[in-house]
Amino acid sequence: MNALSRRQVILTSGAILMVAPAQARSPGQPASARQRWGLLIDTAKCAPDCNVCVESCKAEMGLSGHDRPLTDAQYLRKINVKDPATGASHSLPVMCQHCAKPACVDVCPTGASFKRADGIVLVDRHICIGCRYCMMACPYKARSFAHEEQTDQQPHLPRGKGTVEGCTLCVHRVDQGLEPACVESCKAKAKGAMLFGDLNDPESDIAKRVAREATTRIRADLGLEPGVRYQGI
């Protein structure tokens, strides 16, 4: 029984052969607080009519709607804002801001809303009772509720009726050393307005830029310390 199966041998040798990106943990390792994943979004590169990130998010997560914009699940949405005093307008993608002090986690009665060691805020849908306190507590309106029975889910993203869901920062990709789908598609098909990386790693592009350039967090006054930062708003 202890002899390695062919599958295990292939899997292990594959793991060694694979050139692991610097960011990825080795498989089997838990997420650790040494990392703090974050996003930096440059609104100067984000066009008001561009929806590439939103579409790639829906495809990656297998989100199918019912043409009901108010209640259909959305993990990522585009917001167009205008300063009435100056007339300056900006467009920005808004998703779960992966706060260091998430309000959703504070209010969750079951512990379903939780923050992973590396700062990614998730819903453990196995213990979510669908009360939606987190949706009310979130100042960023980042979470959705699955109102309908779901079919055709992506294998990497289970989702079902009666539970709350939201941006996972593409945790299934990040754990493989990939970037979130929105970041990748913005880079490939739009102007590359989004930068993903480890804010705790002083050598990472994102950490260098936030250390050098002026960045803002939405509603920083609330003190939730989001992991998503913006430029140009």
């Binding site: 029984m1 199966s5 062919r6 599958r7 793991a15 943990r25 498989p27 089997g28 390792q29 838990p30 997420a31 297998g62 939780f114 992973r116 060691a117 590396d118 998730l122 453990d124 849908r125 196995h126 029975e149 779901q150 079919t151 055709d152 889910q153 992506q154 294998p155 990497h156 289970p158 989702r159 079902g160 009726k161 539970t163 945790v171 754990d175 493989q176």
Partner: protein, 123 residues
């Protein structure tokens, strides 16, 4: 507990012809072996899955053996045209046994029942 007893009876008296309920049919799985011996799997898979679920989701441990995604990857049968059949369809691997043992796990309300979504696989 009752379910376990029932299952035990089923294993011992598998050949008895006078069974009231249809015996489970277990379509052949892909791969050479399961993640553990079949006897262990029959008995312990609920616990294995529950542990795995918390380790993966809450701690971020990936690539461990008792992954529900991987169960489906191996245990979803295929039609002759090579289209994946949902594991929880009547007569399929997970469902036929559970129907027999009268357990109704809700996992597949959320978890994909085929290795790829049916739509994508049939495209």
């Amino acid at each position: 507990m009752l379910a376990r007893l029932l299952l035990g009876v089923l294993m011992m008296a598998g050949a008895a012809a006078s069974f009231a309920a249809d015996l489970p049919t277990l379509p052949k799985a892909k791969g050479e072996a399961c993640i553990e011996a079949s006897a262990t799997m029959r008995r312990d898979h609920p616990d294995m899955l529950r542990h795995q679920r918390d380790d993966t989701l809450r701690q971020g441990i990936r690539g461990a053996k008792a992954s529900l995604k991987e169960c489906v990857a191996c245990h979803a049968a295929e039609t002759t045209e090579g289209r994946a059949i949902p594991v929880n369809d009547p007569g399929q691997f997970c469902q036929s046994c559970h129907a027999y043992a009268a357990v109704k796990p809700d996992c597949f309300e959320c978890h994909a029942t085929t290795p790829k979504p049916v739509k994508e696989a049939s495209r």
